[in-house]
């Protein structure tokens, strides 16, 4: 029984972390039709901002504020310098952001070195929950991920800004002709997506191996999640990360990590093959 509870907690923790990463990806894609291959590297930069904060002698919690701000600024710059020029060439956005990913990864190697960095766990004491002993920091991550996701949903579906964003997603030219400044919205959406990735990186850094390759580890499952769930609605992402997260965690607990990655990929391929628009997709 305690094994099942622990597995359930692991699944929930992994899925919520994945949700945090995927949200930024899907918002950028939904609004701007840009597939951001550098999202994993934004996550990486978030994690390394924890390293930098630690070097500066500040507490871990400061990184949770520093990371999203730094990444939002980087997001604005990247949008201005690169993304803006390739909006109309859909495939080229993939390539340009992929090049950006390579450059960021290499920049991290140059600045911090290729080896993994150690980060002090700010909440080392485990807690007793539902009869199992569980690392309290994981519970903190779950709570934060849930809070940020709910806040994002609230902004999207309950505020004026969210209404404007959904308007642009539904019909860009119509929204522009009604007086919405789509150019400015693109810039801030990209910055927001980047900030979300950076925040996720900062939150997850203490329980991950912080090295220059860590971005890719989350990017692939995040991509699979949003393709499985569908990009038309934010709820699709929730469904996608749930499915991918659960499959991954359960199989890696009974078999190897390799088997779990292969199984997740095959599951995703089958689902995408049957529902190319995702489980909650735009129906043609």
């Amino acid at each position: 029984m305690s094994f099942a509870i622990e597995l359930g907690l692991d699944t929930l923790s992994y899925s919520l972390s994945l949700l945090l990463v995927s949200l930024g990806l899907v918002i950028i894609f939904g609004l701007m039709n840009v597939i951001n291959m550098a999202h994993g590297e934004f996550f990486l930069l978030g994690a390394y901002s924890v390293v930098a904060v630690q070097h500066a002698g500040m507490p871990y919690w400061a990184a949770l504020i520093v990371a999203p701000i730094v990444l939002a600024i980087i997001g604005v710059v990247v949008e201005q310098l690169i993304i803006r020029h390739v909006y109309h060439r859909f495939i080229d956005t993939i390539l340009a952001t992929w090049g950006l990913a390579l450059a960021i990864k290499q920049l991290i190697v140059i600045v911090f070195g290729p080896t993994s960095q150690s980060i002090v766990n700010p909440l080392p004491e485990p807690v007793q929950i539902l009869g199992v002993v569980y690392p309290s920091f994981r519970l903190f991550i779950m709570a934060v991920a849930l809070a940020v996701s709910v806040a994002t949903f609230w902004v999207f579906y309950r505020t004026h800004i969210g209404l404007a964003i959904r308007g642009v997603i539904a019909n860009r030219s119509m929204a522009a002709s009604l007086g919405l400044n789509t150019r400015r919205m693109d810039r801030w959406t990209f910055a927001f997506g980047a900030a979300l990735a950076g925040f996720a990186g900062a939150v997850m850094a203490p329980i991950m191996s912080v090295d220059p390759q860590m971005g890719g580890g989350f990017l692939i499952p995040a991509f699979l999640s949003i393709m499985v769930g569908g990009m038309a609605h934010l709820l699709g992402v929730v469904l996608g990360v749930g499915l991918i997260g659960a499959t991954g965690t359960v199989i890696s607990s009974i078999d190897t990590q390799v088997a779990s990655q292969v199984a997740v990929f095959l599951l995703a391929i089958i689902i995408i093959r049957i529902w190319p628009e995702g489980l909650i997709g735009r129906r043609r």
């Binding site: 597939i35 495939i91 080229d92 993939i94 090049g99 990913a101 450059a103 290499q106 990929f265 995408i272």
Partner: protein, 351 residues
């Protein structure tokens, strides 16, 4: 005739002649380096064919390259005993196997409603990651270490059956590259290639003209897989080993950079992109150290954003096949000057 287009053809021929003469001018080490670049060049042509001609962006081209490399290694190391360890059998298997893999992957991803371009790119990227992980953990193909001690290319025509010399290997690779180049060029300029170009421009419109676009895409993808696999086989014989690193994302990404920097739409430009990037890398990576990769990433972004044709794309673009040009040509052969001016305007829609 239009000068700019003629010069593309002449330059291409000139480059082939220069490559053929290279062993006379360069020392043995440079020749073997150049031979390796040419092998990567064949891989680049396979990607340029599928991406530049049919508009299918594949983020996992190294899957087929690596599969070919492993099949060649397994055959010549006699791990697939029923084949008897012959290199010709290895080359054949390394061409057919990846072709089959590409066919199956293409069928899975294109048939039905199919995946749009971006999703296809992401799925192939994920596939490359997964294939690399699986290769790392499969004992039969050597796990993390890969296959070591793969025999080099043998010269069967000489008595004693010994290794080919550096120059012989170079000419085998160059000959292969030339044959593959001419084959792909012939296909690009055939009616089949015209349909592929039409699919790249607008798949729905092409389908509504009655073409079975899925069949065309799968066929092109299969051919591209076969070429990549053959290049992988040559790679194994040249380097003497295969490791999981060449079947995964690292090489898949690298070949994308070569092709994008060289010029995706022109086979020769993609081919030269490899030679350029690798040569510059061998010169600069020692002095720049880790900054080289940073520079390469930035160069890649710059070419994608500012020069979608790549560095050599415009320079090496060939004139259109005669039959694609304006039908006026055959009726009024005396109006060549007028037609040459018209040619400039009409190249865009059909390319």
């Amino acid at each position: 005739m239009n000068l700019r287009f003629m010069s593309g053809g002449r330059l291409t021929m000139g480059i082939w002649v220069m490559l053929a003469l290279a062993p006379l001018l360069a020392d043995e080490w440079s020749v073997s380096q150049l031979g390796q670049y040419l092998t990567y060049g064949i891989l680049a042509m396979s990607l340029s064919f599928i991406w530049g001609q049919a508009g299918i962006l594949c983020f996992g081209q190294a899957i087929f390259f690596g599969l070919g490399a492993y099949l060649m290694g397994l055959t010549t190391l006699d791990k697939l005993t029923w084949l008897g360890g012959s290199q010709l059998a290895g080359l054949a298997l390394a061409t057919v196997g990846p072709a089959l893999a590409a066919y199956v992957l293409g069928k899975m991803l294109f048939v039905g409603r199919g995946l749009s371009g971006a999703f296809f790119a992401i799925v192939t990227l994920c596939a490359a990651v997964i294939v690399e992980i699986v290769a790392q953990h499969t004992e039969f193909i050597g796990g993390f270490d890969g296959l070591l001690g793969v025999p080099p290319l043998m010269s069967t025509w000489r008595a004693g059956d010994d290794m080919m010399s550096t120059n012989e290997v170079f000419y085998v690779v160059l000959g292969s590259a030339l044959v593959i180049y001419l084959l792909l060029l012939f296909i690009q300029r055939s009616p089949f290639g015209a349909v592929l170009a039409a699919i790249r421009n607008n798949e729905e419109r092409t389908a509504s003209f009655g073409y079975r676009t899925v069949e065309y895409k799968v066929a092109a993808f299969t051919l591209s897989g076969a070429v990549a696999g053959y290049a992988g086989a040559l790679f194994t014989a040249q380097f003497g080993f295969v490791s999981p690193a060449i079947i995964g994302t690292a090489l898949s990404t690298e070949v994308l950079i070569w092709v994008a920097v060289g010029g995706r739409a022109v086979l020769m430009a993609a081919f030269l992109g490899v030679v350029l990037v690798r040569s510059v890398e061998s010169v600069l990576s020692a002095t720049l150290g880790p900054y080289w990769l940073l520079l390469l990433g930035l160069l890649f972004i710059l070419t994608v954003v500012a020069m979608p044709d790549g560095l050599f794309g415009r320079l090496l673009r060939l004139s259109l096949p005669r039959s694609w040009r304006e039908p006026r040509r055959r009726e009024a052969p005396d109006m060549q000057g007028v037609e040459a001016m018209g040619l400039n305007k009409t190249t865009k829609p059909s390319s």
